[in-house]
Amino acid sequence: MTHLTLLDQAVFVLAAVVLFTCFALLTQARLVATLRTFAWQGGLVAAVTALMAAAHREPHLYVTAALTLVLKAGVIPWMLHRWVRRLGLDRHVESLASPPAVTLAGVGLVIFCYWVVLPIERMELTATRNVIAVSLAVVVLGLLMMVTRRQAVSQVVGFMAMENGLFLAAVTATSGMPLVVELGVAFDILVAAVLFGVFFLQIRDAIDSLDVDRLNRLAEGMEQE
């Protein structure tokens, strides 16, 4: 641990906090608070990127960091928040069946991810390659969030969290992807967020709710026709 520079150590600390925000997302009951946590996560990922840029003298990562900060901590949460307000879900509280059980499942997944990633970490990549396990855990926890949530907006947040995890892995393990790719991905995410917004409206118009469990009734409805 101590042979790393302080900057690298700071990357570890922030990565661990990102993991914590994932758990916060998993168990957060209030929709608005979920969005706020998601914005924090985006900010943390941006901070990790900036730190990596400083630690490894990769100027193009600064651009990536700034882009991430603007998009993931600013624009996307703000857009989602606007959709939520427009759909009248500000005070929506989604109760999980058993938060401790979800948390435990998450803990198990973290251990599993670590176990899976072990062989990769033996490869000599950057000094901060240990973060790969955390990144994979962020991806898997995002997916777990999509599994446990019934609310379409929370599911979108889960999806975006997955993307955060992938991004974290790319930045910390290989000092980032080429700038063009990153710009493309960022743009994709933005477009996805817009599309999701449109979908929300469509779903709500169709079934008068954003509860994805009720989407299966569409199929039943068609059979009846």
């Binding site: 641990m1 302080l6 150590q9 570890f12 803990v107 973290v110 670590y114 955390v134």
Partner: protein
């Protein structure tokens, strides 16, 4: 471990024990004072807790007809166990023989012993409030225990020892490193400390509102010297958790050699750290609202999750590197 049997070291240990005993009410007085100022009140003087203890110690002790000998023995055991726990904690210096008597697991054992008798005393008279307090206290402690031990284990995994004195020496000796595990452990331990010392948002030390109290419900039937001992034990417990957090996570200032100058500096440093922690506690208590009882498990789950994440970040991030 021959040095553990020297007279000088032992007398220092006794001195430290007496010092924490004397300092415990002061910390409570400080927290109350800061809280009062935050709420735009003038607040009682810092010495108010001492006066209360002195008053209670001279008063007659009343005991209910239905009370058994356990009721009268409990204050001594609760006070004794808490005091030993606080005294064995390295507050001023590492390497004192008292620290070898009890490592951190034994420390938790002492607190559990005190809690056991406190809860029994609550049930003894046979009132509904006492039983309610005991029942709640035992539930909260059962949930706090794993969080506390996991947090402590996270630190001991780094230091390879459960001896707190050793942990501090290790942390003092190592070059500065940002460890996510320690950060999480700090968070977990802070939450546990709040729950275990009966502060807002789990319990309110200032309330006698019947249905919300936990700690106060258990000691409702006590008076005179018995109540004084129980109150003093609670104050010691607050000091214990304060010192634990202050000295394990911010060990700078703790004396590693048993010289008077170093010890005096350590005392000052500890006082400073505790004063800051006291302000933070008062701030938290002023800004947070007390939770419903059945929200407390969520609070403690959060503590446990933090502790676990600390463990994972130690294993995944720190060891692998």
């Amino acid at each position: 471990m021959d040095h553990l049997l020297s007279v000088w070291a032992w007398s220092l240990a006794v001195l430290q024990a007496l010092l924490v005993l004397a300092a415990a009410p002061l910390l409570v007085g400080w927290v109350r004072r800061v809280k009062a100022r935050l709420q735009n009140r003038k607040g009682p003087p810092l010495t108010q807790p001492y006066r209360e203890l002195a008053k209670l110690l001279t008063k007659e002790a009343l005991v209910a007809h239905t009370a058994s000998p356990v009721f009268r023995a409990a204050p001594y055991i609760v006070f004794g166990a808490t005091w030993i726990a606080t005294a064995t904690l390295p507050s001023l210096a590492t390497g004192l023989p008292s620290a070898a008597v009890a490592d951190v697991v034994v420390l938790a054992g002492f607190l559990a012993l005190a809690r056991f008798f406190l809860a029994l005393a609550g049930l003894d008279v046979g009132t509904a409030f006492g039983g309610m307090g005991s029942s709640r206290e035992m539930m909260i402690s059962a949930l706090a225990e794993p969080a506390m031990l996991t947090a402590v284990f996270t630190i001991t995994m780094t230091a390879h020892t459960t001896n707190l004195s050793g942990v501090m020496e290790q942390l003092l000796g190592a070059p500065l490193a940002l460890r996510p595990s320690i950060l999480f452990a700090l968070g977990a331990l802070a939450l546990v400390a709040i729950a275990e010392t009966g502060r807002i948002p789990i319990d309110n030390p200032a309330t006698h509102l019947e249905l919300t109290m936990i700690h106060e419900a258990m000691i409702l039937e006590y008076s005179g010297r018995h109540l004084a001992l129980m109150e003093w034990a609670a104050q010691l417990k607050l000091l214990l958790y304060g010192t634990l957090i202050a000295n394990v996570f911010f060990p700078w200032g703790v004396a590693t050699v048993l010289k008077p100058s170093a010890l005096a500096f350590a005392a000052l440093a500890l006082a400073g750290k505790l004063a800051v922690l006291g302000v933070l506690l008062a701030l938290a208590e002023t800004t947070l609202a007390k939770m419903r009882l059945f929200r407390a498990p969520l609070f403690l789950n959060l503590a446990f999750l933090l502790a676990l994440l600390g463990m994972f970040s130690h294993v995944i991030l720190e060891v692998g590197a």
